[in-house]
Symmetry: C2
Subunit: 241 residues, 2 copies
C-alpha cells in the first residue's frame, strides 16, 4: 500500500515508467544494451528492440533512481559505476496503452563487467553498436529519439569532462583512456594534448603498477574520485564550423 497521509485527487493518472540507456565500449565501438519486447497480441511493439526499462513499482521502488538501479541490475547483473538522469519523455501518443511518461537514466559500464546470460534469454538482451547516433534495428516507442539524445549527451559531455573513464575498469592506462575518448567522440585525439589535459586536471592517480603488453609497458592509473565527474576548463576540440 502507498502511504497517503492526505488523499490524492481522483484524476486519471499517466503510466509511469523508467528506462535506462546503458553504454559500453566493446571492439573499439560504442555499444548500447537493448532488450527484445515480448511477443503477444496485447503487447506494444512485439518483438521490437527497446531500451531496458518498465513500470515503476510503487511498492518496491522508493524513488526513480532506485528503480533505475534495479532495472540496471536486473539486465546486467552489475552495479554501474556511473548513472545520471537524462530526462523524461511523456505524451498521450508514445505508448499505445495510454498517456505515459518515462524517466530515462543513462549508465556507463566497463566492457568486462557484464556477463549477459547465455541460454534462456540470450537472444533477448544484447549489445548493439552505435553508428552515426543510431542503432541498426528499429526501436520500440520513442526509444530511437531517446537514444539519440543520450548519445548526444554522452558525446558533448565527453568534450569537457572525464565521463569516458567510466567505460573502463577501475585501473587503466592513459592510452586506454584516450581510446575510450576516441570511441565516444568518433575521432582521433592528439596524444600529447590529451595527456597534459588529463594529468594537469588531476583526474587520475598512478597505481604504481604497469600494464605489460607486446611492447613498452604503460603506467596504470585509477580515478582519484570514483563516481565523480571532473570538468575541464575548455572543450576538447573547439569545433570550427
Amino acid at each position: 500500500m502507498t502511504k497517503t497521509a492526505i488523499p490524492a485527487p481522483n484524476y486519471p493518472r499517466p503510466l509511469t515508467t523508467v528506462d535506462v540507456v546503458i553504454f559500453t565500449a566493446l571492439d573499439e565501438q560504442l555499444q548500447v544494451l537493448l532488450v527484445k519486447r515480448p511477443d503477444g497480441p496485447k503487447e506494444p511493439f512485439p518483438g521490437h528492440w527497446a531500451l531496458p526499462g518498465g513500470f515503476v513499482d510503487v511498492d518496491k521502488d522508493t524513488s526513480l533512481e532506485t528503480c533505475a538501479l534495479r532495472k540496471l541490475k536486473e539486465k546486467t547483473g552489475v552495479d554501474a559505476p556511473y548513472l545520471e538522469q537524462l530526462g523524461s519523455w511523456g505524451s498521450a501518443e508514445r505508448d499505445p496503452r495510454g498517456w505515459s511518461a518515462t524517466h530515462v537514466y543513462f549508465a556507463l559500464l566497463p566492457q568486462a563487467a557484464v556477463q549477459l546470460e547465455k541460454g534462456a534469454n540470450a537472444a533477448e538482451v544484447a549489445w548493439h553498436p552505435v553508428i552515426d547516433h543510431k542503432v541498426k534495428p528499429k526501436l520500440a516507442f520513442d526509444h530511437a529519439e531517446i537514444l539519440a539524445v543520450a548519445i548526444e549527451r554522452l558525446r558533448s559531455k565527453s568534450e569537457y569532462s572525464s565521463l569516458p573513464a567510466y567505460l573502463l575498469p577501475a585501473e587503466f592506462t592513459l592510452p586506454e583512456l584516450q581510446q575510450a575518448y576516441e570511441v565516444v567522440l568518433g575521432r582521433p585525439v592528439d596524444k600529447s594534448a590529451f595527456r597534459t589535459r588529463v594529468l594537469s586536471a588531476e583526474v587520475v592517480e598512478e597505481t604504481g603498477d604497469q600494464r605489460y603488453t607486446t611492447n613498452r609497458p604503460a603506467a596504470l592509473y585509477r580515478l582519484k574520485q570514483p563516481g565523480a565527474l571532473t570538468f575541464f576548463p575548455r572543450t576538447f576540440s573547439p569545433r570550427k564550423d
Copy 2:
C-alpha cells in the same frame, strides 16, 4: 478519454505532475516565480511557497512540454522565449498524497514581459530574489532541492552559453547583456573580454538603432537565432580552485 489501443496493466500508478522554475532578472537580482499553496486541511504544505505546477491533465495536455507551457502561461500570461527540461524527481516520500513523480522545466523571461495580476491572487504569485542558491521562504515538497539544481544549471550553463540573453527583451545593448551575465553568475565580468567573446561567436547582430540614456548611447543588438543557444568554446572564467 485516453486512447488505449492496447489495455494497460493494472498496477497502481504514481501521481504525475509538472513544475516550472521561472527565472527573471529584476533589480539587478536573479528572481524566481513562486506561488502560494492553498490553505485547507486536505492540502499538502498549506500556505507554503512552491514552484508553479500541478497535475498532468491527460485530456488537456498532449505532452509534458505542452503541459509545462500551459502552466507557464497560466501564471505569467506570456510565452517564455526559452524553456528547457531540468529533470524529474520521483519518490514515495516527496508528496504526502502518495508516490509521485514531477517533471521539471525551467524558463527564462525578460523582466518587462510579466504583469502579475494585481488583485485577487496578487499575494499568491510573486517573484522572490535568489540569494546564495536559495530563496528566503521554506518551500513545499522537495522544491528547495529542485530550485537549487535549477540555479546550478542556469549558472553553469551561463559559463559557456548565450543563456542569460533570454533574461532580456528581444533588443538589448551589450552592457545590458553583460549585466545579465553578472546577475546570473554573481560576479563581475571583464567588459573587453565579454564583448570579444559575444561578438566573435556571432550570437547577436546589430539592429542599427541605439539606446539613448543619460550619457553615451549604446548600440542595440538582437539574437541571431531567437530561441537557440550558442555555446562558447571555453567556460567563461576557468575556475581556479
